[in-house]
Every structure is written in C-alpha cells, then in structure tokens.
C-alpha cells in the first residue's frame, strides 16, 4: 500500500512525520538494548523531506535511498513491523534478514534495492529513470546525503541524467549546517570546497534550487512542483534540502539526547537539553509544523496527543512483531544468490 495520498493534507503530513519520529526512537532503543548489531542511521530531523517527496509520487514511480532510509521507506508506505524485523535480521523482515538496516528495500513500493555506498545510489537511480523514459511513464526520486557530492559517482550520474534527459528528481539532503548557522567561509557540506552546492548540478545543466528542510509547507510546495516538472518535462531536476543536524546524529552511534520527543515541547514546555532545545526551535520540522498547525487552528493539543498515541501504539506493535519474529534458518543463507529462471544450470 502506498500511503502518499493521505500525506498531501496537513494532518496526514503531520501524522506521517510523527510515525517516522516514533519509529526511529524505537529503533534507537532496540539498538541500545543490543537487539541488533552494526552501525545504523536515523532520520530524525529530516522527516518532512521524505513525507513531502513521497506525497508527490504515484505507484509506478521509483524511489532510491541510502543507509539513512527509514524515513523514506515509511513515507512511501512500508510496514514498520517488517522494517523493524529486517533491521533485527529476522525472517519476518522485507529481505528475510538479509539486508538489515543498511539496504532496506521493498520492490512492490518501487524501492528496488538500496545501496549503502556513498554516491552509489545515484547511477542506479539514473538507470531506473532511463527505464521510466523507455517505458514512457513514471519518474524516479533519488535521495542522498551531502557527502555524495564528494564521490565521482554523483557527477557521472548527473552527466548521464542531463545528457539523456531522463525523468529524475535528485534530492540532496544536506544535514551538515544550514546556511544561517555556518561560520563565514565554512563549507556548505561536510568537506566539499564550494560556495553553494547547487552550483554543481547547474554547471551540468541540471536546474537546481534550495529549500529549508525544517519548513514542511515549503518542502511540500517545492517537491510537488519539482516532481511535476520532472513528470512533464521528462528531464532531471535537483533540489538541496537544508536540515540542521539533529544532536543525536553528532555521534558515531545515534543516541536520544533529551529523551524521546514530547508533544509538550510544541506547547511551550522546554527540553532541558540545551542543544536539543535550540534544535527543536530552529531546525526540527516536526516541532515547527505542529506549532504551526496549532497556531492556525488546524489541530489542538488533544488531537495531537491522540495522533501521537496512534503512532506510538503502531510502533510498539511493530517492535513486538520484530522481537517475536524468528531468525531465519541457517540454510536461508544460500538462497537468492542468483535469480532463478532463464538461468544457467
């Protein structure tokens, strides 16, 4: 089921963002409880991007993402219980435990395969967009982080997308430092020497723009418009989304500084974690959007709490499903090396 339709309305968007937030918090809890191993990546603070982008898509479209994929998966309609089971390496996961968090994918949702190599996803997505062009319908959305601009793969993919004019929307999620918070002369991404990242696609004739990742309405307008342009022109577009990095992401291993997000924070109460308080105020798309909806009278506190209750309950159920799901039997390791049919003997 692709959930994008509901997410075109303000309350649907709020609910979709909240689900991602609650999912990620559970994920951190499970990791910290030793329920799974290996590194993992959390989408807290970027929820509005996935929700806005996926709201602009239809069933036949393709979505490519990275190691930081949980938000994109949920926004596109993946079932949280099967995602968590996969993250735990369980048989009930989407890949039966073979992918783990890094390569979560759901073919039925057009999320064909997920690369965890920086830049690796861009050529793949460009190829899927070429397939869209060849079949004459659909578009591809490609999410990636700002470090992808440090990999040659990004440039080659952009050259091909521009040369072939394939219908792809490149979504660079820059979670380094939003322009306002950067020191003068500081790089606009982790390490890239550039004054403005969007100059790069422009130099390769890919029309580009920038948008604030903490402003859900702006994102919604921008991504809907760009997706429509890609759909009608058949050519590529590029957008850079600026997000203020969530304090829990500053560490190698995600943490929950200040604890789980609280509805009360959007109603005047302050988090007692100073970094988090500043981040909630300036950079958290969820906190900001809830406050905005409340101010506009679209939602009141009771409704917000009910919405949150549903999200929490859903994610608690997902955790139970994942914990209850068995590990795959050892023999499963030998399955799916090669696709069967038309195959070598």
């Amino acid at each position: 089921m692709i959930m994008s339709t509901a997410a075109t309305e303000p309350l649907g968007r709020m609910a979709a963002m909240l689900r991602i937030r609650r999912f990620e918090e559970q994920c951190i809890r499970l990791a910290q409880a030793g329920q799974f191993r290996g590194h993992y990546h959390i989408y807290i603070g970027q929820e509005a991007t996935a929700v806005a982008a996926c709201a602009a898509l239809v069933a036949e479209d393709f979505v490519f993402t990275t190691w930081r994929n949980h938000g994109h998966m949920l926004a596109r309609g993946a079932a949280p219980e099967r995602m968590l089971a996969e993250i735990l390496g369980k048989a009930g996961g989407y890949a039966g435990g073979k992918s783990g968090t890094l390569h979560l994918a759901v073919r039925d949702l057009g999320i064909l395969s997920t690369s965890a190599l920086v830049g690796g996803t861009l050529p793949l997505a460009t190829g899927a967009a070429l397939a869209c062009k060849q079949r004459g319908s659909g578009i591809t959305v490609c999410f990636f982080g700002d470090a992808a601009l440090e990999e040659g793969a990004l440039y080659e993919a952009m050259i091909l997308a521009s040369l072939w004019q394939v219908p792809i929307l490149f979504v660079c999620e820059n979670n380094t430092m939003p322009p306002g918070q950067r020191a003068r002369g500081q790089s606009p991404s982790s390490r890239l020497p550039a004054n403005r990242l969007a100059d790069i696609p422009e130099a390769l004739r890919v029309t580009s723009e920038e948008v604030d990742g903490a402003d859900a309405d702006a994102l919604n307008e921008c991504l809907a418009r760009l997706a429509a342009q890609v759909r009608s022109s058949g050519g590529p577009r590029y957008v850079e989304v600026h997000s203020g990095r969530w304090p829990g992401n500053f560490l190698s291993w995600p943490d929950l500084p200040g604890g789980e997000w609280q509805i009360a924070w959007a109603f005047g109460q302050q988090s007692d974690h100073a970094d988090l308080a500043a981040w909630l105020e300036q950079s958290d798309p969820l906190n900001r959007y809830l406050r905005k909806l409340v101010a506009a009278g679209t939602l009141d506190r009771a409704q917000a709490e009910a919405m949150d209750e549903r999200a929490r309950a859903e994610m608690a159920g997902a955790v139970r499903f994942a914990l209850d799901s068995p590990y795959p039997p050892p023999d499963e390791a030998y399955q799916h090396v090669y696709a069967q049919g038309g195959q070598a003997r």
Partner: protein
C-alpha cells in the same frame, strides 16, 4: 552458415534488440578499434537508435545506469569498451549489481550485461590488456561468460540479453574476432554452465577458455602429429558458473591436466581449476597438474616482451610434454 566471432556478436545484438523491446544498448562501440568489424554495427545503430544510448566516458555511471535500468525492468547491455575499464566501474559491478538480488532477499533482480573487449590484444600495454575473469570469480552473484568460439559468442550474448536473470560480465577478445564457426539454424545451444569437450583425447586434458581455446586446439593437433599424444580439450565457456564436473570427468579419463589460461598465474582461473583437482580429483591424477598462464608481470608494450609472456600453442605443447614426463 559460417560466421565470424564479430559477426556472431553483432547478430546476437541485432536479434536481441529485435526480439525484446526491453533490450537496450548503453554505448555502441562493441567492436573496439576494429574499423572493419565496426561496420557490422551499422544496421543496429540505424534501426534501433531509440534504444541505443550515447555514452560519455563515464564507465562507473554507465554501469550503474545499466544496473538501475535492469532492476526497473529493462535488459541493458553496457559497453565497457576495453575490458580494463571495468576497474573504473568496479564499485557498481562488484558491490551493487552482484548484490541486488541477495540483499533484497530475492525481491529484485538485475539482468544487466557488461560487455568487455578484454585480454592481451597486442600492443595494449599495461593498462589495456587485463583479463578480469578470476577477480570477478570472487564475486558471488555475477555470471562470467568467456566464449572461445564464434558460435558461443552468438549464443552466449543472446542468452545474456534475452534469458539470463542475473548480472553478467561478457568477456570478449579482439584476437578472436576473425575466428569462424558453423551456425546451424535452429540448433540448441549447449546449456550455459556446461563446459564443452572441443576435442576428445586419452592422454591429457587441456582445460582452456576464451582465447586459449583455439591455441589449445592447435597444441592438441601438434601433439597428435608430432608427438603421438592424444589430448582432450575442455572449453570452459563460462567461469561462473564453473563446470567442475566436466573437468573432473575429463581428468578421470586422461589422468593428467594442463590448464591453459590467459590470467596471471597467481589467483587466476588456472588456480581454481588446479584447486578443484587437488580437492576433488586427487586420486585421478597420474602426474602433477600444470598451469600454462601469463607470468605475474604487467603486460609490456614491446612486441618481444609481450611475446615472452603470452600463452602460445608452443607453451601449451611444452606444458603437456612436461606432464607426460617427456
């Protein structure tokens, strides 16, 4: 109908494009620098221009685009050009294509073909002469095709484009372009993954693939006529899958094995064949296995230096004489 290896390739590409609208060419320089052979591509290029994508010099991007298009339902063949350029695309070939099916738990497959004009071609020097079949053999999930004859060039390419459901590296060799074979209309191809006994023999098995098949055949001729030795020639045809059984059965008949292979000696295709024999066929061996391979030296430009290193008919003959104790 007699066809050359180059004609077999062009015919397979043409017929595949005609048979399945999902077939897509990413690049179109399958014939490399061979100006005569290039003409064979003309009908294709004019008839299917909307399914032939212009290719910048971006091997990594092109390979990745091929994989992505394959995942999304197309059947692309990516022209890597000189086989050595696959190193530019290695991250996509080795760590994306090969893993798609497995990582997705069988949800998605990526039937993309990477076409490489590989091997020691004469004057290619250190950077344009690679044989990557053994390296790629360390990558589960890939199929590796190494045709040694014109009919296999045709059949294997058609199979890769129309039937295979997995990522495939097709290793062509420009020194084979002129080789001819009879193509029997309506004939069935030997299944992929089955080696071919090109010539039966009693005294020794020569195991070969790609360019070494014809050299092994010439060596077998000379061994018969000059030395009275009856050599069996096994053409592996594909490196992944690798047909252990045919190799073991052949050596069971002959008791001796010489492996003629164009990889470097260390960790090459010959190493794997020798290892299979040491592990599964030890009791069959009347004499030590012998590898006739390219020494562990980059390929030099100069003709006299290159000639010192390649796997020739003469060196295969010498290898056989040695395992025969002569």
């Amino acid at each position: 109908m007699k066809i050359t290896f180059a004609e077999g390739l062009a015919k397979a590409l043409y017929e595949s494009l005609a048979a399945d609208p999902r077939v897509l060419l990413i690049g179109s320089n399958f014939m490399g620098l061979n100006t005569a052979a290039k003409q064979l591509m003309n009908p294709l290029v004019s008839e299917f221009s909307n399914r032939i994508m212009a290719a910048p010099v971006s091997e990594l991007g092109l390979a990745g685009a091929g994989i992505g298009a394959a995942m999304a339902g197309r059947r692309p063949v990516v022209d890597i050009n000189t086989g050595s350029f696959i190193f530019q695309a290695f991250a996509q070939v080795v760590n994306e294509a090969a893993n798609v099916h497995y990582m997705s738990g069988g949800q998605t497959s990526a039937p993309v073909t990477f076409y490489c004009l590989a091997g020691i071609r004469g004057g290619g020097g250190a950077q344009h002469s690679h044989r990557t079949q053994a390296m790629l053999g360390q990558v589960p999930g890939l199929q590796i095709l190494t045709p040694g004859s014109a009919d296999d060039a045709y059949y294997l390419m058609k199979w890769a484009l129309l039937e295979s459901r997995n990522p495939t590296v097709f290793l062509s060799h420009s020194l084979l372009f002129g080789e001819t074979a009879e193509l029997v209309p309506g004939a069935q191809m030997l299944p992929v993954g089955q080696a071919r006994i090109r010539r039966e023999g009693r005294d020794v098995s020569i195991i070969a693939s790609s360019i070494t098949v014809m050299r092994a055949m010439a060596a077998a001729d000379e061994l018969e006529h000059k030395h009275g030795i009856s050599a069996e020639v096994v053409d592996l045809r594909t490196i992944a899958p690798l047909d252990e059984n045919t190799v073991l059965q052949s050596v069971a008949r002959t008791g001796r094995a010489v492996i003629a292979d164009e990889c470097h000696r260390r960790f090459g295709v010959a190493a794997e064949i020798a290892a299979i024999l040491a592990e599964e066929g030890l009791a069959l061996l009347k004499a030590p296995v012998r590898r006739v391979t390219v020494p562990d030296v980059p390929i030099p430009y100069s003709p006299t230096l290159e000639a010192e290193l390649i796997v020739t008919k003469e060196r295969i003959v010498t290898g056989v004489l040695r395992v025969m104790g002569r």
